[in-house]
Amino acid sequence: MTNSKKINKKDIGGLLKEWSQEFTVFIPWRESGVAMLDKWDGTDTGFIDWYRNTVKPAKANFFPPMEEMFRFQKGREGYHIELPLDEHKQLIFGIRPCDARSLAILDMTFTESYQDPYYLPKRNNAVLIGLGCLKPYDSCFCTSLGISPAESTDVDLMLTDIGDQFLVKEITQKGKELIARASQVEEATEADEARAKEVRKAAYGKVTRRIDTKAISEKLLSCFDNQDYWEKVAAKCISCGICTFLCPTCYCFDINDELVKRQGARFRSWDSCAFPIYTKMPMENPRVEKWRRVRQRVCHKFEFYPMNFGTIACTGCGRCIRLCPVNWDITQTLDKLPG
């Protein structure tokens, strides 16, 4: 008798079908070669064979690129304001440990002082089914941030690929109840658990890129005013902002209105510290120079967020390295910080 369950890979479709009764199920999906989380079509579970990680992180399911905050109508009595109803319950199948951790990091921002009225209901209504990452990318460095690619406690259930089956570890009460109702699940044996342990260990060893977080926190503040260094590392950045949009922990946003014939809406949308307009005021702009913006991004993640919340706002998912059009590499920037 073990503490884990297991499920045959060929039964995943059936399991997702059961869960579809209660939840909108999201799985890794590929369109034109780009992997992202998308609504399950009810049949295809092919991702099991090709999935490494999605291009767009799971944060987009909770903090969408663009979201209606409220809509309004101007009538004789003045404005009538309506809030959007968001009651859909999402089940995300296959979230990687790095992206699950990023949600725990975002929770800190969205619960500090004020409860975010858009992010939190989505979070509270969601179920996360983690899937261990067995083929990390060269750009991944999650292990330096205290994350194991095939283990997570930031999810409700954690799955590990043990061949023809997934081993299922119950992490939360919510996950436990969910798996208790599933019909295709069986008890795992001690041999299954031993196999999963090997798989997890092997996955950990495959993450070879590293950063030294202790050295970084010691050096970052002292080299904050080293303009030469920041100008050098910022030189090739083209301020496209893709590193911030695809970063699972970046949360900066803008608020804008739209109006068509007395009816309108206010939207929250992703914004980026890479853009000079982000900080622009009518008469001044404190971060008009590119090196200041690059410094802001690095220092926010590795110095300011830890000062405010006690944790680094990076999960080592490597997206900002893999997907940068000019191959800017944050690990190199952090590695070569002058003392």
């Binding site: 309004f72 304001i81 002082s113 009225p117 904050f224 949360y251 900066c252 009518p282 926010h300 110095e303």
Partner: protein
């Protein structure tokens, strides 16, 4: 003055519990301060909120013309005069232009009050030196009226206020009242006068040096364009003010007003949440000079 962690100051005025949802307020009066600056007097549409709403001098709010957008401005009236609220806007961008197109009776969105405030407990029993330039008088004006309405709690009051030209002076009606007030030393200056100008000429920091208020048991409260603030601090230091005796309020692009949208940070601090009121001692201790 420590940084503020409970940014709501224990006072929650959230519309339907949603921090991003604006309250509707109605403009009751519009005053042309200068050719490009207007003061709007307004009140909550909701009667209950009219009674209950409170704020402190130095706090700001997010004002919106629905359909155009939202922008932060300080509350320029004093909490001691609570029959209505005021804010003052210079016409420079999309939202400010839309605000200037509004007439009396127009409804706008209001979220707030946000940020910390001037430390009244620290100012009590002190000589106060107000140094302001242009529209920078708006946040200080809230404090000045607050102090005048509780005159016996404070000692000497000096107000040094300047603008680029006589046409750029804001709150002329207040300047006249303070000038007539025997308990206040009101000094008005312009960078360059015109034919009809009979008052002082000169930049605010220079005039401050001439007026030379004593630093003994005093606090200086400074607000104006960044260039004026940068030249005022050294003059105050020369007059013997310590960085702890100098207070200012900073301006940044602030979209959310509650330390979330990210853009108004100076190091790990957010001007909207941990400020906008800071001592010069705090500013000197900032990680970054990006203010």
């Amino acid at each position: 003055m420590t940084s503020v962690t409970d940014i709501s100051h224990g006072k929650e005025f959230l519309a339907r519990g949603n921090v991003y949802l604006p309250h509707i307020v109605v403009i009751d009066k519009i005053i042309d301060e200068t050719y490009d600056t207007r003061t709007f007097h307004f009140n909550f549409k909701d009667e209950k909120l009219r009674e209950e709403f409170t704020f402190d001098s130095g706090q700001f709010a997010e004002y919106s013309v629905l359909g155009i957008g939202e922008a932060p401005f300080c509350i320029s009236s004093s909490p001691t005069r609570s029959d209505h609220l005021e804010f003052t806007v210079r016409r420079v961008g999309r939202v400010t232009n839309a605000l200037h197109r509004l007439g009396v009776g127009a409804e706008i969105g209001f979220r707030g009050a946000y940020g910390n405030s001037f430390p009244l407990n620290l100012l009590q029993g002190k000589n106060l030196v107000f140094v302001a330039g242009g529209i920078g008088l708006a946040p200080l004006r809230s404090l000045i009226w607050n102090v005048i309405d509780n005159r016996d709690r404070y000692k000497k009051i000096d107000i040094i206020y300047g603008a680029r030209s006589p046409a750029d002076l804001c709150f002329k009606y207040d300047l006249d009242t303070w000038d007539e007030d025997k308990t206040v030393n009101m000094v008005t200056t312009v960078d360059k006068g015109d034919e009809s100008w009979t008052g002082r000429e000169g930049f605010v920091p220079q005039i401050l040096e001439q007026v030379a208020p004593s630093a003994t048991n005093a606090v200086a409260i400074v607000c104006g364009p960044p260039i004026m603030i940068r030249f005022t601090f050294p003059v105050l230091e020369k007059l013997g003010f310590t960085p702890e005796q100098m207070i200012t309020t900073l301006e940044k692009r602030m979209k959310c007003g509650i330390g979330k949208c990210g853009r108004c940070n100076i190091g790990n601090l957010y001007v909207c949440r941990d400020g906008p009121v800071f001592t010069y001692a705090q500013i000197k201790g900032f990680v970054s000079s990006e203010y």
